[in-house]
Amino acid sequence: MAKQKYDYDLVVLGSGGGGSVAAHLAAKAGKRVAIVEAGSLGGECPNFGCVPTKALLQAAWLYDAAKHGQPFGIRSAAVGYNYPSIKAWKDTAVKNTGVADSRSYHESAGVRVLGGAAHFIGPHQVSVERRHVSAANFLVATGSYWHIPDIQGLDKAGFLTPREAINLLRPPKSLFIVGSGASGCEFAELFSAFGSKIYLADVAPRVLPREDQEVSRTVEEIFSRQRGMTILGSSKVLKVSREGALKKVVFQRGGHEQAVKVEEILIAAGRLPNTDIGLENAGVDYSPAGINVNQYLQTSARHIYAAGDVIGGYMLTHVATYESRVAAHNLIHREKRSPDYRAVPRVTFLNPEVASVGASEEDCLRRDMAVRTALAPVSIIGRSNTSNFREGFVKVIADKSGRLIGASVVCPRAGEIIHELTLAIQYDLLASEVASTLHAFPTWSEAVRIACSKI
């Protein structure tokens, strides 16, 4: 990279998935590297996102399974929970990631850790707590933050974001969730398991609006019929106010104004990239959707790369770490690589899990692509019988030649099952090739074989 003109060869802004991988790869390649972290080392996922929410959901599922053991001859009259203990379990899971103590891990790998918020003060310089740090190259991996919609009265009435919701000491008696994407649905699942009355609202007409229609229908059916949630699609929250100990939420739906009173409001209405870091001073172009990058993850300033949530896109931890690896390669090597997003698996941790990869049917219709689809309900396979679980399906989408281009799975362990289809799409396999592969009996994956055989 550069001579000793600069303090470092590479400064990485952000120690989450998008930043730390590249920092370590560059240090391993002999570069002088520093990571700047304004908040908690490790970023959003291990501290406030994936790890704590999935730990809480694990407790919720165990409790739910224990309460419903009667068909299997399990008596569950005495099953209960202690929510502070559940929160303590969550804290243990977060602590077990080791990120809180990762400063020494970074330093021992040759990555200097600088605490504080970085702000660009020039193309090759950032200010970190008034200390000026220069570098030949930068990787911006500053992540994202929860978007708070402009709703009258919301600030005054008070609300939670997922960051606060994971630290509650008891589940709210009633909860109005704004946003029915993956996070909103997961929190709906979590708190409904512990008895909260849930209202799940979104301006989109269905829950999980980025998934295929069948996924949304199945999840809505389970949420409303089995969990007693009130699903409010095509609903726009107009205003919020305090009424005694409760919060009144007024929303518009189907042209009519309605209101409910709840104990708490959770805003899970999407995330926005953290771009307010003086990018203009470095000549880096960006928009509200994120930092603009080319196919090599290079910004408009060629010595500055960006990866992870800050460039928009999927906003998933595994995509951030993947982009971090690609950015590191491009920073170190002359021959550059582009990230391949054809087979990005994404999972919503409900019960049953929801997972998808590749293109959705709606994506294909929007692009006028001729596709073939097939769906296998899990109720027809042996594992459904032995588990007494009948909701869910595997849906596959293939192009005209039968090559797999997309899939959705709603069933237990969908988050594991999806990886077979991810591999198939990544390596351009035909549906018939997957169908002719042995799948063990009795597993949920048999539904993959059956769906592929129908293409």
Binding site: H119, I121, S127, G278, E280
Partner: protein, 91 residues
């Protein structure tokens, strides 16, 4: 109280001065014929917005201040905000 240092174009440093910012924003408003009272009020409100952005930021550039001030002023007087953004010195 906002305790931010500003990095000038040449690399020098100066402390953030709210009175200086308010004066230049008010001057921009007066240059587009806003009455004095309105100019002062718009300037004060815009400065308040800038200072909310500056909270928790130890150091930014003078270009950042100019950008944020123009974004803040456009809410109260779009014409003045344009003038402020285009001109380096208004007195």
């Amino acid at each position: 109280m906002v305790d931010t240092m500003l990095v000038k174009r040449g690399g020098g440093l100066e402390a953030y001065d709210p009175a200086k910012l308010r004066s230049s924003l008010a001057a921009a408003c007066k240059s587009v014929r806003a009455p004095e009272g309105e100019a002062e009020t718009s300037a004060a409100l815009a400065v308040a917005r800038v200072e909310r952005w500056l909270m928790g930021r130890p150091e930014v550039t003078t270009a950042d201040i100019r950008r944020k001030a123009a974004e803040a002023l456009v809410v109260y007087n779009p014409e003045a905000a344009y003038i402020y953004q285009q001109h380096k010195n208004i007195s």
